[in-house]
Symmetry: D3
Subunit: 237 residues, 6 copies
């Protein structure tokens, strides 16, 4: 039995509120249940020095938890003076995931930064961030195409992410915090609409797992991402 009473293959409610802030070229507040992440896409018409002059653009991401997004207050990274290893790991993953569906050449020599700030955390913040970042990026690209800055659409596929895990011996979809903190294995899948995989990060916690378990988690992830793809499509219509 899952703490939330959900069936093993049951997602939490997915909510995507677009244009949550007015300054960003694209933005949304994405919710996976009580997890809520504000994502903004910022277009800058210049690249960092090491990326200039190659005739292509860049998509990158930054991630942060507000100090009281969690049960107990965490120290603010700006006050500590550095980003944790966890933060850096997650923002690198978000950036890679979005670049997997972006044709950087068609984007042209500009950079789009996806800022993912967790307003409230209840498990799955990185997967909600990736899924919402696609929406914010889609909106920003739409604006660039509408203004004529970009010709061909650089973003031809959707990307979404979901966590699965083995909780009390059973594979379950979309771990919330109560499950995540006790799961035997925890896997984040970043999937492309149509069946391809962008990234798998599957970690045993305490117990290890085997090939069959990995495949069962991957199948759950496909089910979950299909629901996210639908929500994304509805959001950017």
């Amino acid at each position: 039995m899952r703490p939330s009473g959900r069936a093993p293959d049951e997602m939490r409610a997915i909510t995507i509120e677009t244009n949550f802030t007015k300054h960003a070229e694209g933005s949304c507040l994405v919710g996976f249940g009580d997890t809520r992440v504000l994502v903004t896409a910022s277009v800058e018409e210049r690249l960092p020095p090491w990326l200039r002059g190659k005739g292509e653009g860049w998509v990158t991401a930054e991630y942060s938890m507000l100090p009281r997004a969690t049960h107990t207050r965490g120290q603010r990274e700006a006050a500590k003076g550095k980003q944790s290893g966890r933060t850096q790991e997650i923002q690198r993953l978000i950036g890679r995931s979005l670049r997997a569906v972006t044709d950087l050449r068609k984007l042209g020599e500009r950079q789009i930064t996806l800022d993912c700030d967790v307003i409230q955390a209840d498990g799955g913040t990185r997967t909600a961030a990736i899924s919402g970042a696609w929406v914010a990026l889609r909106l920003a690209v739409k604006g660039l195409m509408a203004s004529g800055a970009i010709g061909d659409d650089p973003l031809t596929e959707k990307v979404a992410a979901i966590s699965c895990g083995i909780f009390e011996g059973n594979p379950v979809l979309d771990l919330d915090y109560a499950e995540d903190s006790k799961a035997d294995a925890d896997a984040n899948f970043v999937l492309i609409e149509g069946g391809k995989i962008a990234e798998v990060q599957a970690t045993a916690e305490g117990a290890t797992y085997d090939e069959e378990a990995l495949l069962r988690l991957l199948r759950l992830a496909r089910m979950g991402c299909d629901q996210i793809f639908s929500a994304q499509a509805a959001a950017v219509q």
Copy 2:
């Protein structure tokens, strides 16, 4: 004529959405027009070492702008590895303002941290933060009293803040970004309900001002704060 078409003594709409996040002991999303700040109050049953053993508590604040709260993206302070002088100045002001209405002895040996994260900026972020912080603090204190952790109410007065300035020669109330960036003088007032002053920070930008102008700004501030006190009262009922 003000860019927004407002009268000189006209505030923007004040909105206070309480309990915006579920983990914090008190929280609200406060809006002064398009400026929106998420404030959470976190109660911790321990003090930093230098405050222990005095039989009293502490109220402190942290402030941050999300990178794309503004027209153009700013660099994330956690990525830069330090908080700017502006950030530190503002969070010190917020903390002082709230301590001005808190009886630290009645609070007992615990710390309440007010995290003020600017979701969207359109001028007046520090004054919205102070005004919202009082609401979050009030809710957190209410919880402590309900649970019996605190006996006497340590928070007997309201505090609010508003910016005023001289725009194209005229004193105006509640500067938005279009005004703030061109004002000749800019003053932030932190007022206590009932007429007392907690803090004045009045700065000439380009032009200087005189005693009469300072007094006119202070009177506008009183009008503005009265409206905020009403909104605060409604929010915490």
Copy 3:
């Protein structure tokens, strides 16, 4: 009764020793009683990148306390690896105050940095720093004009600063440390010769204050700054 035996409107002795160091384009050791601040003005014929090409210059300030300027030794900020919020707040105030009396266009594309290092502290270090910085700046500008680097004088008014406060219920001028540490309210005024105000920062400590008290402090500040303007005039003759 004030701890020093001074009358409520009595300043401490103001001393300004110009050309205290030989390398700086302008310098002085300014004293407000036992508070002593070494100020140097350094002219650099280049601007930071973000200020270039606008046909105008910049005036900025840095502030620091020597570790044993105070009763007990404070940790050196260079050793801690960062400047405190208090330091940053003060150096921003000093820079703003001097820019309030400088025509940056007449200064031309050069930067003048005012380094204010507190040799000995006894209250009022920021106000002594601002008052001395004007002298160092005046001397540096005089040199630039003498050499023909600058035509019109960019510095046509004097600026000075003084702290006032409410001590044991009475408004008093020029707080020393013994008063500052116990004052009910503490206000720093930055005034322009002739009656204009550049900046007011008035903070209640413990008790709050009202409009009348603010005005009484402002009037004391005018009396104090008049004495500083005289001392500045004598120093730069």
Copy 4:
């Protein structure tokens, strides 16, 4: 055809030189072809504060590249003043991998730190580090058991890691730098002797991959790890 002329399922030579340094409780220089990593295991009879008093120990890792381990010199992280996101991601992975085969309760209240310093890099540094870290940890634990500090062996299984990828359309085992820099997909597998999985990190680079490709890579990884388990067994005999 692989640049090195290897068959798709052919590993590079594995070399493990134990006791490479004299001070560490366990150490080895591990080589996967030209990739060479020095691993030391340091036993400390105390835990960081947040781990104390739980009756169990901790295994952690740090990773670093010597500045000229690579084709062109990289800046030293100690000189830059921070560890890169890549470094932190890798050292967190190494620590998790080793903890997956360690019974922390049997280890007792002590910490073992695995320092993995890359002397020379030619692809696969993190997998060589994990594989070598097991050897260093095994040697350190052997010493603790020989001295009677530990009773039951806390390290009952072997862990090893290998990278696989899709290079020019074909799944290949143990990517070297020439392959890694051009691979379409790159996966690191951390496997437990006997068939269990500790961690999978599979990333599409440019192209994406599908479930079948993931499984083919996993099977190559099993072949590779079996060879590493043999080399580890020989090394610690």
Copy 5:
């Protein structure tokens, strides 16, 4: 011919103004010609954790140049966020030099910190700092003995330092900046009254030197330090 017209074995004027600041337990402004260093000795009745419980005290030093102590303004180390290698090297040298004449056991479990802040630089700042630090330390120790905190005098010998160098082929005493910046070799000697050596740091710049040159520099240093010992004795009478 030396730029200053001094004879090869001629020191600049040595000035030592004691009790330059009022808060420190000992202080002086030491001058070697135009080089001026403010030194304060701060007594703290506690030790850093790693020195506690050994029944002895500690003497340490910190060194800093004010930004405009030099011909052109240098960046403030507190603003850069770290102390330079040069600063650390010098402050380590000052601390070692003073500990060479202090009986730490007689000092008791307290720490004395010597803060050496260069007000104006014209060569020889580290040697002036060491020589002045002895005076500040002597004054602080005198106070501890007068108050009965210390019984036996822990400071039985004098220590002083001077730089010598080879300038245009000739050994010269007490290099000023004009010489230091062009010297072929530069040596700092820290000597104990009575003939013993505490430290030699002799560096070839461009040209190298030989044993005979080293000895000639050492003999010049003895002459210089004898003059400093006299000035120190006069200062602390």
Copy 6:
């Protein structure tokens, strides 16, 4: 009697294994007994901004101890976020020593960085680093000459370094850790083949020393460096 049983003027075995890593333009693993330092020379065809355009090159060094090079594990400087004063002092010494034998004009506008990473420490790590750095630099310069990038040899002399000290009252050559930690005086000599001195750093630890002792240590150092010069010559043949 020395702990190692060596005669007072007896060096430990010197070993120099060239081309220890394959990517660097020059490299060696140098051993002085159990002290082992990996040195790489990296040639970069560009200079830092402040050195450009002078028609000459630069030689610099970085130094680091691996965390477990020593008896007990030290914290990794990259994790602490800064290099210690000791590290900076040593790397500055290594750079100066190598520049003392390099004609920077003949080197041309390129930089050679000598990375000295201590694999295992048993006293004398800085002197081993300098001695090995000459070998790595020699190999890198040889490559530049072979490729025609450099015409005249910029490196015409050898430089080597050795530590000597006074141990239990007797001058001894090449201190190992057991001696170094208890020596009364400790001196590092950097000598040029043929008799010239590049640098002397002689420090009293506890006891002080006199001129005669300094000369006896210098003579021992000459004997030691002659052996190192032979080993260097053999290594680069």
